[in-house]
């Protein structure tokens, strides 16, 4: 039916089968380990494609400072053992100068351990930001992704307090550490703000029916629900609440699938809180992105690739500041002291320092569907949060 997916698979297979890539003097070799297939691909495959598209366009335009970027892509399926294998190939066969991860948190540990041993920096560009990128940051780990469980949770609670500070709040998480950490932190903030909690419901991976979890939140008196987990889980929690006639507001993390789904659901009670701009805004930045996708002829939803596209912008800016030395060490030196212009796709720049490889200030916007206008709308514009 959709032959393009077959074509993508063959392209990927060809990339993998091409064998080791040896760096020429006029190129920088970057390894990309991404969940292109497997259970998490719904969230990560599109940003990875977006990053590839950005890099392809850079190369077509003559590269950066006369150097082309050779992107070596391996699929890790969101699986730790495959990520370990990819890391080994990047470092021993492909001789990469930088590794990019667009995958699940389960893949981080093996990639990090191998790359840091060899002194090769890792950029998380579409993967959730690991704690090691936040102050005090580990030397070789950087993150440009727009979502982070703890910071998103802080922004969600903050917006909820603005909207309805008296609400009893329920929390929906998935049984994976990063999701639980986000929602447990959100509950702690809520309780610290003298608001009431309806408890944290944690659904195991592979849950067949989210209704019982939603029932518990409703019976505990949840008037608002916060969720931070893979999109498929967030939205199934929301569906399960609505199916039982629950009429409160839900606040979820803004992930790759968010905009397209919200336009389908058309529910003004569903708010996404995140740091990426949405495509419907039709700003200069989003117009450029949409135009690039259209020109490429690649079957991609622009709404789903923003984090990958921003990863491409990061690569362009970092390599643009490199001199003749394109070693991993030189790339790391540039990354540890840089301010990246996000060109309107975020509320402000991404600034990395020696101590902070996440960003000094993170900007959040809140989106929802508006019944009045029959379109998506910005419920609250960019608000800055300092990262401590």
């Amino acid at each position: 039916m959709k032959i393009r997916h077959l074509a993508k698979a063959f392209t990927l297979a060809a990339t993998v089968a091409a064998g080791p890539v040896l760096a020429a003097d006029d190129e920088v070799v970057i390894g990309l380990s991404a969940a292109l297939s497997g259970g998490a691909a719904g969230t990560y495959a599109a940003p990875a494609e977006g990053l590839k598209l950005y890099i392809d366009r850079l190369n077509e335009a003559g590269g950066i400072n006369g150097k082309t970027v050779s992107l070596v892509i391996y699929d890790d399926q969101g699986d730790a053992s495959r990520a370990a294998s990819n890391g080994k190939r990047f470092l021993t066969q492909d001789d990469v100068q930088l590794i990019i991860s667009v995958s699940t948190s389960a893949t981080f540990a093996p990639l990090i351990s191998q790359a840091t041993r060899q002194g090769v920096p890792i950029l998380f560009a579409g993967s959730v930001c690991p704690a090691e990128t936040m102050p005090p940051a580990e030397p070789l780990l950087y993150c440009s992704t727009g979502f982070s469980s703890v910071h998103d949770s802080i922004a969600m609670v903050d917006y909820l307090r603005e909207l309805d500070g008296d609400a009893t709040v329920g929390f929906a998480a998935m049984g994976i550490p990063i999701s639980r950490a986000g929602m447990e932190e959100a509950e702690r903030i809520v309780l610290g703000a003298d608001m009431k909690s309806a408890g944290v419901e944690i659904a195991p991976p592979g849950t067949a029916d989210y209704t019982p979890f939603a029932t518990k939140l409703i019976q505990n008196g949840a008037e608002a629900v916060l969720a931070w987990s893979p999109w498929s889980v967030q939205i199934r929690f929301f569906d399960a609440l609505r199916k039982q006639g629950w009429e409160g507001n839900a606040f979820v993390g803004h992930l790759a699938e968010a905009e397209l789904e919200m336009m389908e659901i058309k529910d003004p009670g569903l708010y996404t809180v995140g740091s990426n701009a949405m495509i419907f805004e039709d700003s200069k930045a989003t117009q450029d992105l949409v135009a690039a996708v259209t020109e490429s002829g690649v079957d991609l939803h622009p709404e789903a690739i923003v984090d990958g596209w921003l990863g491409g912008i990061v690569i362009e800016e970092v390599l643009g500041k490199l001199g003749d030395d394109t070693s991993a060490e030189a790339i790391n030196a540039v990354m540890s002291d840089i301010e990246i212009d996000t060109r309107g796709l975020r509320g402000g720049s991404i600034k990395w320092t020696e101590n902070n490889h996440f960003r000094e200030t993170i900007y959040y916007r809140v989106y929802r569907w508006s019944d009045e206008t029959g379109a998506m709308e910005i419920a609250r514009d960019w608000k800055a949060y300092e990262v401590e």
Binding site: M1, K2, H5, L6, A9, S37, G38, G39, A41, G42, A45, A46, G175, E201, I202, A203, P204, P205, G206, T207, A208, D209, Y210, T211, P212, F213, T215, K216, I218, Q219, W231, S232, I235, R236, D239, A240, R242, K243, Q244, G245, E257, E261, E264, I265
Partner: protein, 290 residues
């Protein structure tokens, strides 16, 4: 009371899926470990039908039912038929391979993204108020109704129709059944077809209720303890096994720890396998033959 409704809906889901395991096992002694994948393939067939053939939801669902019958028949004729006479383990491993193949093919064809099937079909999965304290979704209500209809239909078919009796006879003693003139291949093909058909109904209704992605094949795995607890060759056992697993899951979520809901069904499964390996309503001697 909402908890009771949740238990009934989850029981229906597991029972409908488990009926597919039981049908194939009861007749051919093959444990179909690709049943979860065949289940969601049914839902993807609905997506394909509604996108490529007709936008009318009722016609799309009817065509999906026909296609799922063709899939079930094809799986038997092209693959499982070759396993006849081979060790049971070989047949089971073949279904494992089939499951992996189907999962990969579905990702390649329809992509890894989650699909909102209800929206694609303009199906409004509205909340249905049953009493003041009980609400279920329209798709869940259909799931319960379809499970009742499928079970009544299958029980009537197996016990009252000529082909049903042939299926039971083939399961009990294939050699004798063959000597009495029953065409075993036809009976096995019928079992695979009915199994895939009931799985597809479950897949379609789950997709209409809570979207569709390849990971939903894991529901097949979660329904597996239901089939085994009840007894792999017992249709009413599967229904009761599904009830046991659903009650445990929902009560654990509500009163103990939600994360236990993922583990305890399999603990029950292990306990049953130790105490009564043929399941609550399974046939002892049949299991020994496996």
């Amino acid at each position: 009371m909402q908890i009771v409704a949740n238990i009934v809906v989850l029981t229906s889901l597991y029972a409908l899926v488990a009926s597919g395991y039981v049908l194939v096992y009861k007749v051919s002694r093959v444990l179909n470990l690709a049943h979860g994948e065949l289940m969601i393939l049914g839902a993807y067939l609905l997506v394909a039908t509604s996108a490529g053939i007709t936008s009318d939801p009722l016609i799309a669902i009817a065509l999906t039912a026909v296609f799922s019958i063709i899939v079930g028949l094809s799986v038997y004729l092209l693959l499982m038929r070759e396993m006849t006479g081979q060790p049971v383990l070989a047949a089971v491993l073949t279904t494992v391979a089939l499951g992996i193949l189907l999962r990969g093919a579905m990702v390649l064809i329809w992509g890894p993204q989650q699909l909102n099937v209800a929206s694609m079909l303009s199906f409004e999965n509205a909340s249905v108020v049953l009493t003041d304290s009980i609400r279920v979704s329209t798709a869940s209500l259909w799931l319960v109704i379809c499970t009742v209809v499928v079970y009544l239909g299958l029980l009537a078919f197996l016990h009252m129709s000529r082909w049903g009796m042939r299926m039971r006879a083939s399961g009990q003693n294939p050699l004798l059944a063959a000597q009495r003139g029953i065409n075993l291949h036809t009976v096995y093909a019928l079992a695979w077809t009915l199994s895939t058909f009931s799985g597809s109904i479950a897949g379609v209704l789950v997709a209409l209720d809570s979207r569709l992605d390849v990971n939903m094949a894991v529901i097949g795995l979660k329904a597996f303890p239901a089939a085994l607890v009840g007894g792999l060759d017992s249709l009413h056992g599967a229904l009761i096994g599904a009830g046991v697993i659903a009650v445990l899951e929902v009560l654990l979520i509500h009163y103990v720890n939600p994360l236990l809901s993922d583990v305890v069904p399999f603990l029950v499964l292990i306990a049953i396998l130790i105490v009564r390996p043929w399941g609550l309503f399974g046939t002892k001697e049949e299991l020994n033959r496996v």
